[in-house]
């Protein structure tokens, strides 16, 4: 099932359909500038970031939070993300693909609340960001 309308459409263990996030340096730059982190090389320039001791320009951790929130909204357009909690385990690099995953770990049909486990992996399949979300859905 690609889109969920109500709590009745959700099954325990269900995996959300991921999308391919845009981690291009251009997109990362725009995001970083919009949140006020546009200065310096960290999110702007691979060479400058390497001079600062980083492996390259990074994807901001909160951009990964943004990708995960989007995945939830694409899965269930009527969902309200009540809480999203993300742990930044290691950096994601700009211009490198990453993959998103989310699994339903709990369903409360009475309150119409769903709990999700979340992760973002890099191209080497290493988990870089993980977390949880609490999502409210319309009742069936």
């Amino acid at each position: 099932m690609s889109s969920v309308a109500t709590i009745d459409d959700v099954e325990f263990g269900m995996e959300l359909v991921p999308f391919e996030p845009n981690t291009s340096l251009e997109s990362v730059r725009a995001f970083a500038k919009a949140v006020g982190w546009g200065l310096g090389g960290r999110f702007n320039d691979h060479e400058q970031a390497r001079k600062e001791g980083l492996p390259g320009a990074l994807v901001p951790g909160i951009m990964a939070m943004g990708f995960l929130t989007t995945m939830i909204h694409r899965w269930a357009p009527a969902a309200i993300v009540e809480r999203i909690d993300t742990v930044f385990r290691a950096p994601l690099l700009a211009d490198e693909p990453c993959s998103l995953a989310a699994t339903v770990t709990d369903i409360d049909s009475h309150t119409a609340i769903v709990e999700l486990d979340l992760s973002v992996k890099n191209s080497a399949n290493e988990t870089r960001v993980f977390g949880t979300a609490r999502v409210r859905l319309p009742k069936g």
Binding site: M63, M65, T69, T86, V87, F88
Partner: protein, 147 residues
């Protein structure tokens, strides 16, 4: 090593910062689009429920990172993660206020020493005092043995 219980007793739940914000609608739109968002509530500024995504709420930073007189832990602080709790829509362009306190302090020990985790919690309210969202920032510091 610092006494974590003492730090908790002295610093937890004491507000140490208050800051006013206005989320720029264009910036809210850019953050939503660069996140791949497609819902009009986040991507159409003319939508009646146009609102900020959790990601841009998480970017709101307090004026101070830690309370005055908080002791140095010796290491370089790293951004360990963010959490956002949404209680009501946060409207770009409207006046907001964020009040910040230390919500939790805890440690994890490994082969390379002790890591101290500091959780700063910002409560975001509108101009009428309605609590709209809470943003938690997890700061991780590798404690130096002599600290």
């Amino acid at each position: 090593m610092l006494d974590i219980d003492d730090l908790k007793a002295r610093f937890l739940n004491l507000e140490f910062d208050s800051k006013d914000f206005v989320i720029d609608p264009d910036n809210a739109l850019t953050v939503a689009r660069m996140s791949g968002e497609t819902l009009p509530e986040f991507t159409d500024p003319t939508h009646p429920d146009f609102q900020a995504t959790p990601a841009i709420i998480a970017s709101l930073a307090s004026g101070r990172r830690l309370p005055i007189n908080f002791p140095s832990l010796g290491g370089i602080p790293m951004d360990g993660g963010k959490a956002v709790t949404c209680l009501a829509p946060v409207k770009p362009g409207s006046a907001l206020n964020g009040r910040t306190h230390l919500h939790d302090i805890y440690t994890k020990s490994g082969r390379s020493g002790r890591m101290v985790f500091l959780v700063s919690r910002m409560e975001i309210r509108d101009s009428e005092g309605h609590h709209l969202a809470t943003s938690d920032s997890h700061m991780v510091i590798r404690e130096r043995p002599e600290a």
